[in-house]
Each structure stands twice: as C-alpha cells, then as structure tokens.
Amino acid sequence: MKHTLSVLVENEPGALSRITGLFSGRGFNIESLCVAPTLDKTMSHLTLVTNGDEAIIEQIIKQLNRLVDVYKVVDVSEGEFVEREMALIKVRAEDETRAEVLRMCDIFRCKVVDVSPKTYTIEVTGPESKLRAVTELLNPLGIKEITRTGTIAIQREKKTI
C-alpha cells in the first residue's frame, strides 16, 4: 500500500541524509521525496511517499520519530488529503503533431511554458494519476525529456501537522 508521509524536521545540516540513510539502511522504499522550507525558518517540511504493509509503515513512522532531528510525522494518507505533483514535459511538436499537443494541453488544462520550432514544454500539475495519464497520451507523440517534482500533500479541512 502506498502511504504519503508529512515530516517536519529541524533545519539542521545532515538531517535529510539521516532520513534517507534510515530508509536505505533499513530497506524501506522511497517512491518520492520533496523537501522545502516552512514559514518557520528553523524547520523543513518533507513529503515522502513510500509503500509497505501496515507493520512496515508503523516501523517507518516510529523510526522517523526516533531521529533526534525529526519533530513530527503524520501519515496524511490515513485521512482526507490533497496531493499534487508537477511535471515539466518537453514534447516533440512538429508540423503534423503541433496542434495535437496543444489540444491535449487544453483537455488536461496544462500550460505551455516554453516553445521552440520543434518542441513544446508543458507544465502539468495534479495528482500522480493525472501525470501518468498525460505522459501516456503524450508518449506516442514523442516525449524528449521529463522532470517531476515528486508529490507534495496536505491534509484537508482544519487539520494541520
């Protein structure tokens, strides 16, 4: 099962490598990892997507909490939450496909952020499923390059971590 964890961690040197080291050292998976500062400059916020059965997720959360630098861990996928990811996709766009690419952008409400005679670069935002759908549809047209941010997530309604 996929789980999305929100982790607040002290903004200390080495904190991130403690976390990634914990995952590699204990054989846990990281599907994606996103780190950014928070309003409080002394903390970083980290969204981590991992998978495993209940027992493994329980261990992951406990092991994260055990790290001296980790302030808080929440499994946001336990309740209602919003998750988003962004991808930048450089697609081949030559005479015969140029219009087709734009049409798809329209359907998926993507933005064209860079144009060249032979390519469009498209910005897609949404849950992972949307990114997958877009890449699958663009693939036949010729994706030249793709970069993704990894998932970020937040709990719905009043809950805060």
Binding site: P13, G14, S17, L22, Q59, R66, V68, V70
Partner: protein, 566 residues
C-alpha cells in the same frame, strides 16, 4: 564574560557532566584538546594502544558504572578506528560520548590530510552526531551530547570538532537545562496500559517474565525482582539481561534463545503470557518467528517505541521507562489485595511443569578424562569468585559458556557485546570497568581468537596498574564458527583453525604481567587460584577440549523448541 577557546570548553563541559575518566589516543587534529586536558589536570586520561580499545573501554566503563563513557580520538584513522566500538555501544544501547578531532573547517571536503567524514560514517551507528562549525554552538552541543547519550534509550553520540574550532574563542555559557522540541522520549508509562497489563497478568495461568538489557539500563532490577516474587512468575533473561534478576533464584529459568536453557525455551513455547521488560525480541531469542510463543499474549514494556511491534505482535504495549512501569505494576498487584501466597499457590501447576523441564535437561556437559572442559573452568571461576566478580567476555563459545555457567545475581556484572557480537570487546571493556571500580575483581573470559583482536591493551592495563584477570579458553579454533561448520557444513573447517597461537604465558610476561597455564583438569583449580590471587594483570590460559560445542543450540532459523542438546 570572558571568552575561552573551544578546547577549554570541552574540559569545562566534561567537569560539569561529572566526567572523571576519559579514554583516548592523540593526534594532530585533537592535540589542542589534549593540551587543555593536560593543563587542567583534573580529568584522568587513559592512554590506550588502539582507538578501538578506547571506545570499548569507555563502553565498559559505562556499562559497569551506569555513567556516560567518554573517548577521544584524532581525525581520519583515529576516528575510523573508533567505529567498531561505537557500533558495539549503539547495538547494546550504551551511553557514550565520542570526541573526534577534525581538519580545520576551511579544509573540510578537500581530501585534506587525515580527513574523513566521520559524521557521515557514523550516522547509522550513533544515536546522534554533530560536526561543530562554530565555537558558539559548542557549549550547547556538548550539553546535548551528554543529555542524548544518557536519556531515553541511551546510545553513543559523536562530536566532530575541527581544529580551528578547538582554538576559536567564545563565551562559555553552559546550559543548565535542556529542552529539545524534536526529542521527547516518553518516560512515564500510561496508566490505562498498566491496568490492561494487570488484567492479563491476573488471568494468566502460565506467565513468563522475559527480561532484557533495558532492565539493567533502567536500574530496575529491584522492581523486577519484587514483581516476579510477588506474583511468583518465572523469569528468563536475554544475554543482555543476565544479572537483572538473581540467576540463583528458584524463579530464574536462566537465559533463553539460541543457547538458552531447555527450560527457558520450553517455557516460552508454552506460556500464555509473556511479560517482556526492556527486551527487543531479537532473532537470537525468537528463533523462527512464526513458531515463537504460539499461545502467548504479550505485554511489552520498552522506552523505545520502535522496539515494540517490530518483530512480534504485542497485545499491551507500554512505552516508558521500565523502572516506572514495574513500580506501577507492583502497585496494581498490591492494590488488588491477593497476598503473594495466593499467587504462589496458583502458579504451582506451572512450576511443576517448569521444574520437570529443569530436571529433564539441565545445563550440563560431558566430562572427559584428561581433558579440560571449558564449562568446568567457568563453574570453578564462579565458585572461586563467589559470583561476585565483574565478568566481561569476548565473543563466541567463551561468551556462551560464561552466560550459561556463571550465575549472575547482580546487574552490571556481565559486560558482553550482544547486539554486534564484537570479538575483541571483552578485554578493553574490562579495563574500562576496572577504571570505574578499582577495588572490584574484573575478569575477562576470552577465546584464543578474540583476545588477539585487542591484545595490545595489555600495555594499557600495565601502565594503569590494573589488576584485570584474563581467562583464555584456548581451543585453537574460532570455536563458535567451527561449531557451525561441524553441525551444518559437513565439518569443513574453512579458515577456523589456528596453526599458530602465541605462547600466552610468555606474552603476559613480555608485557610485564603474570601468566599461568593449565593443560589437565586437575590443574584448573590451582591455575585459577594462582591467577586470581595475583596482584596485577594476569593471564590464565586453559587448553580446553578442542571440539567442545555449546549446547543447547537452536539452529538458526529453527523454532526454539528444536534444540540440539548435549
């Protein structure tokens, strides 16, 4: 406020933390701290012969005394030499502060002379570690290091101190109190959980207390004994738990697990309630996990939530300090009102069964005419020391025979590397323990292989005039590995036989110590007596039956009831 250099802060912090002894080995990147220590003169420094020795000695000091052990090393090779000692302490949750020198901050990352990223290397085997970049942070970091090392689940903490920071000056404001928003170990157990635990205890017909190293760490042996005696429950201990409950008590089942007693393993297989206290269900204890304690409900008291529910499903988890939890449990039992006699009577059928197991396969060994059996040496050692010595062990058969045949009644009297199983641990640890308790008898029970891994510390012990005693059970084999080869690898003794071992008696003499040797059973007594009566450092070497095995033995991956017996 006057400013003082970083090196001076280190000394001041040590004094504030009550550090009276440090173990270490100098070098260019730590020379400034050494200078400050020497000029101050109030902290005893023990110069070892190898930094691994310093780390183990600090660890032995910590285990014996319950205080934080401190060791110091220089950058690069000095730092890497401590790593095995740090990992050893980490696996067994031992409070330790390791201070390493580092190249000046401006050179970090440049492959400078004797530079190594020791913070990176030790990240997975320390509780926490620091690279100090600004001397202004140093007082806080020193304070935090000691606090982290000894609080919650203890462990080693490393501080990497660049040479320029050692000499940079700042005001020294040592924090009196400490609060870390991201580190709040739960100490006080939840009352509701105690109630739930008591309900299970009350209902259990065949309970077992499974006690581990956490009881010793928490100094909870009195509370544990009180609970066990009150409810008349049998107690089995992990290797790390030996001594947390009197091994001579009629309630004791001895050690459980791979080389545990028949009785302990049978009791675990048949119990309806495991009361686990400061023990972490290690694979050496559970054997094949699917077959472990099939009928049991489990109460698990541990200060570290990661230990709970890691390997086995637990019915009543109790997170907190086990001393407090045990106190609360005893209170709950007393409040219930049934006197101990009632509990005892109720336990009778269970004890009839236990005593039958005890009788069927007690710990034993076959005597052989003309050959010294290692078990006999340990039994005699127990007798002559009246069970009062601090025993350290190396790793292997020597360690297991000690665990089986020396009856530990007091906590902090068996110092052994359980989690990492580090050969070469025992002797430097004995040095640390002897430094903590100059007047106690400290004996390292060693194998001929392990003792050679830190034999250089003989010089340290001589220099400090430490009367440590070393008992070498010499089988001229890496015996524990040989035993596996005998049982599971068709007796192919790949790389486990020594064709050369030093003359340990002469070796002792070379260091200025005394050496004694026994080659026949009738010499065991005399040799032990002579050795133990020697004033200073002494080696007693016993030429033991070369292919003696440790039994019972649960083959790796088998159920703990599938024991190979003598």
């Amino acid at each position: 406020m006057t400013k003082i250099p970083g090196k001076q802060m280190v000394v001041e912090a040590f004094k504030k933390e009550g550090v009276d002894i440090v173990f270490g080995f100098p070098g260019g990147a730590i020379i400034d701290v050494y200078d400050a220590l020497e000029k101050d003169g109030s902290i005893k420094h023990v110069l070892v012969r190898h930094e691994q020795g310093a780390a183990h000695a600090a660890d032995g000091y910590a285990r014996a005394s319950g205080k934080v052990g401190v060791c110091i090393a220089t950058s690069g090779p000095g730092a890497t030499n401590t790593v095995t000692g740090i990992a050893t302490a980490y696996m067994d949750s031992i409070p330790m502060v390791v201070l390493t020198g580092q190249v000046p901050t401006g050179l970090i990352g440049n492959d400078a002379f004797q530079e190594v990223d020791i913070v990176g290397i030790t990240r997975p085997c320390t509780k926490h570690n620091y690279l100090v970049k600004d001397v202004k942070d140093l007082p806080r970091i020193l304070k935090e290091a000691f606090y982290l090392a000894r609080s919650g689940r203890p462990g080693p903490v490393l501080i990497d101190l660049p040479k320029d920071v050692q000499n940079a000056r700042a005001e020294f404001k040592y924090p009196e109190k400490i609060k870390l928003r991201s580190y709040n170990p739960v100490v006080e157990p939840h009352g509701k959980q105690i109630e739930r635990a008591f309900k299970l205890i009350e209902r259990a017909k065949q309970p077992v207390i499974y006690a581990g190293g956490g009881v010793i760490i928490a100094n909870a042996h009195k509370e544990l004994t009180k609970l066990a005696e009150y409810i008349h429950a049998p107690v089995t201990m992990t290797l790390m738990g030996l001594g947390c409950f009197p091994g001579t008590s009629e309630l004791s089942l001895g050690m459980l697990g791979m080389h545990g007693t028949y009785c302990a393993n049978m009791a675990m297989a048949n119990t309806d309630l495991i009361i686990a206290v400061g023990a972490r269900f290690d694979d050496r204890v559970t054997g094949k996990i699917e077959a472990f304690a099939p009928n049991a409900s489990i109460i698990h008291i541990d200060i570290d939530p990661t230990s709970i529910q890691k390997n086995v499903r637990v019915d009543v988890p109790i997170v907190g300090d086990c001393r407090r939890a045990l106190k609360k449990l005893v209170k709950a039992v007393e409040a219930d009102g049934r006197p101990p006699e009632v509990w005892k009577e109720r336990a009778q059928p269970w004890f009839d069964q236990i005593n039958a197991w005890k009788k069927r396969h007690p710990l034993t060994y076959k005597e052989e005419p003309g050959v010294i059996k290692p078990q006999q040496v340990i039994e005699k050692l127990y007798e002559l020391t009246k069970g009062k010595a601090i025993i350290t062990t190396e790793v292997g058969q020597n360690q297991m025979w000690t665990a089986q045949f020396y009856k530990f009644d007091e906590p902090r009297t068996l110092l052994t590397s359980g989690g990492l199983g580090t050969m070469g641990y025992g002797f430097p640890a004995a040095i640390g323990a002897q430094m903590a308790f100059p007047d106690k008898l400290v004996v390292d029970v060693a194998g001929d292989g392990s003792i050679q891994m830190n034999i250089q510390e003989m010089a340290t012990a001589m220099e400090q005039r430490l009367p440590v005693k070393i008992v070498i059970l010499n089988n001229q084999f890496l015996g524990m590995v040989r035993q596996w080869q005998e049982l599971f690898y068709n007796k192919v003794y790949a790389a486990t036989e020594f064709s050369v071992t030093p003359d340990f008696v002469k070796l002792a003499e070379a260091y200025g110590a005394k050496g004694f040797r026994a080659t026949k059973p009738e010499e065991v007594d005399e040799t032990l007596k002579k050795g133990l009566e020697t004033e200073g450092l002494a080696i007693m070497e016993f030429a033991i039956a070369r292919e003696e095995g440790v039994f019972p033995m649960v083959p790796a991956g088998k159920a703990t009831t599938e024991m190979l017996l003598v």
